[in-house]
């Protein structure tokens, strides 16, 4: 009875972080390791999407908004994939002048020819460059505002995905084949930089970090290439950053789920294309597996009933956290997002495989 009472009053923060600490928690949490700001929140705050990437106060307010608006059990920043590359000297385009919503991209890269790969170095003050300080200031502000209630999350690109930001992707893919040693040397350097930043992010207030190696699913790279040029660097990163730490890879990951599980993360996050049941067959019941609500087709285009069905499918597939397959596309209606959270609350204990075995 007493323990039941204790579980009943768990905060989102305790629920999210308790699972990583091996504590008994009351139910599956509904949160994310990736971006989840909504246009509803931006309208309420009076911000345009391009403004929230470079202003710590706006970033913090937007980052905390999903908790306030639909009870999401986390606050995650940033949203764009350019922070790491920008701090290395790349130039970002935030699409300030475009009316519809676009995520920033890199418009000027720093590697222009394969020979430039070996010239990339990580400056000693890397975490102080570009917008890293903005993210850190915002992490601190969020922590102060709602850090007692929800877990504060942030993320970094994996080294291969980051390499794709600082050089031409066509070249990078071909070099994986033609010059794997040179690619590995570059990725090793980038991994060092990411480790430095991950430590600073933790100090700044991040409770958990997701490494998003988005460019490495088997829609793109063979399991053999994954083993040769992706896995060693992920292993290095996860062995040197603090828990909780999650590995996310988009796209098709069933062929590499076993290797993902060996990278040293505390949890694996997969996207819609992953067959959860097959994944569990490979990795077994023990590893933490997070996923996989389609952040566009279901959360934007679906009905609340579609959302409920998708949540149940993920839970029944054996996930330990219901979270979206990628960023939540900001125009997702609040009714769908609330349905996601409510469905997890309703079934997150009863149907949670880990709790019931």
């Amino acid at each position: 009875m007493e323990r039941g009472f204790e579980l009943m009053t768990m905060t989102s923060r305790e629920r999210v972080l308790g699972l990583f600490e091996g504590k008994e928690v009351d139910r599956i949490a509904c949160y994310s390791g990736m971006g989840n700001v909504t246009t509803a929140a931006l309208e309420q705050l009076g911000y345009r999407f391009p403004e929230i990437h470079g202003d710590a106060q706006k970033m913090a307010a937007a980052g905390a908004s999903s908790y306030h608006l639909f009870g999401y059990e986390c606050a995650v920043i940033p949203w764009d994939m350019c922070v790491e590359a920008e701090a290395l000297g790349c130039v970002m385009n935030a699409y300030e002048d475009v009316a519809h919503l676009l995520y920033p991209t890199i418009k000027e890269k720093i590697i222009h020819a394969p020979e430039d790969m070996s010239k990339v170095t990580i400056p000693p003050d890397y975490p102080e460059r570009g917008r890293f300080p903005v993210v850190m200031e915002a992490l601190g502000a969020i922590k102060k505002e709602i850090g007692n209630e929800v877990a504060v999350g942030t993320w970094l690109l994996g080294p291969f995905t980051l390499a794709g930001q600082i050089m031409d992707l066509n070249d990078l893919f071909k070099l994986v084949f033609k010059k794997p040693a040179e690619v590995n040397a570059l990725l090793d350097t980038l991994a060092d930089g990411l480790i430095m930043v991950a430590k600073k992010y933790k100090e700044a207030g991040a409770d958990y970090i997701t490494i998003r190696e988005m460019g490495a699913p088997t829609d793109v790279l063979s399991p053999r290439s994954f083993k040769q040029v992706i896995k060693p660097h992920l292993e290095k990163i996860f062995s040197q950053i603090d828990s909780p730490k999650i590995l996310h890879i988009c796209g098709d990951t069933n062929l590499i789920i076993g290797m993902m599980n060996e990278c040293g993360a505390d949890a694996i996050s997969v996207e819609t294309k992953n067959d959860l049941v097959k994944s569990r067959e490979v990795i077994g019941p023990e590893p933490l597996l997070f996923g996989k609500i389609d952040g566009y087709n279901v959360l934007v285009n679906g009905t609340p009933e579609d959302v409920e069905r998708a949540v149940l499918e993920s839970i029944e597939g054996g996930v330990d956290a219901v979270w979206p397959a990628c960023d939540i596309w900001p125009t997702a209606p609040l009714s769908n997002l609330r349905a996601m959270v409510e469905t997890v609350k309703k079934y997150g204990a009863e149907k949670w495989a880990r709790k019931n075995r």
Binding site: V98, H100, L102, Y103, T105, L169, N170, S222, W329, T331
Partner: protein, 220 residues
């Protein structure tokens, strides 16, 4: 009927593409021309056939993107040699296509692979590149009077923009056929956005495009 020598060269071309062996492809293409044979045949029954096999290997998860990019390089090595000798009237299907990756998206690998197939099939390709603003597609379609506009997006976050482009082009020129493709695109989304075709991969894109052009010609 292809002679034994022709057959051997066609296989060398196709295998050269599949094995991303640019040198073998170049040799075979040069030998083909030296024998005075029809360059169109070398492209369609050699290079394109090889690329279709690469597509199959990709579907079977034997080949992945790096392999496909190298296969495409091998195909181009052959095409560069053969194309100057191709007479346009000999090409079965001809048409123009405007293609590009939508604004906000800088991933152009898929688009480039589709482009290879269009070029090999004798289409005139107006390649707008990547991160292309909406208006650019509309203007280029009007300027070139292309039958087809092919839009690509690698990320969900940019796929959404396709809807507006399709609407804008259809308003200005209802006859233009629009096909969309890219990792997050599905048949459902294509239908929802009002696209005429959806291409899962490069060789499907080409098949679809050829069908679209034939249907356009039937109308006129």
């Amino acid at each position: 009927m292809a002679t034994e020598k022709e057959q051997e060269l066609l296989e060398k071309l196709a295998n050269g593409v599949v094995n991303y062996d640019e040198e073998a492809v170049k040799e075979a293409a040069q030998e083909w021309l030296a024998l005075g044979l029809d360059p169109n045949k070398a492209v369609f029954d050699g290079l394109v056939k090889g690329m279709q096999e690469c597509g199959r290997l990709y579907e079977e998860q034997e080949y992945f993107v790096p392999e496909l990019l190298m296969c495409a390089d091998a195909l181009y090595a052959g095409l560069d040699i053969l194309r100057p000798h191709m007479k346009s009237e000999d090409v079965g299907v001809r048409g123009q296509v405007v293609m590009g990756v939508v604004q906000g998206d800088v991933h152009d690998i898929g688009k480039n692979l589709v482009k290879v197939m269009f070029e090999a099939a004798g289409f005139t390709v107006h390649d707008l590149g990547r991160d292309v603003p909406l208006e650019k597609f509309v203007e280029e379609q009007l300027r070139t009077d292309s039958e087809i506009v092919a839009l690509s997006a690698m990320m969900t976050t940019t796929m959404v923009g396709m809807k507006n482009i399709i609407k804008a082009i259809k308003e200005k020129n209802p006859k233009a056929k629009i096909m969309i493709g890219g990792a997050p695109v599905t048949e459902d989304i294509a239908a929802k956005f009002g696209a005429d075709g959806y291409a899962k991969d490069a060789s499907n894109a080409l098949k679809d495009a050829i069908n679209m052009i034939s249907s356009l010609r039937d109308l006129t």
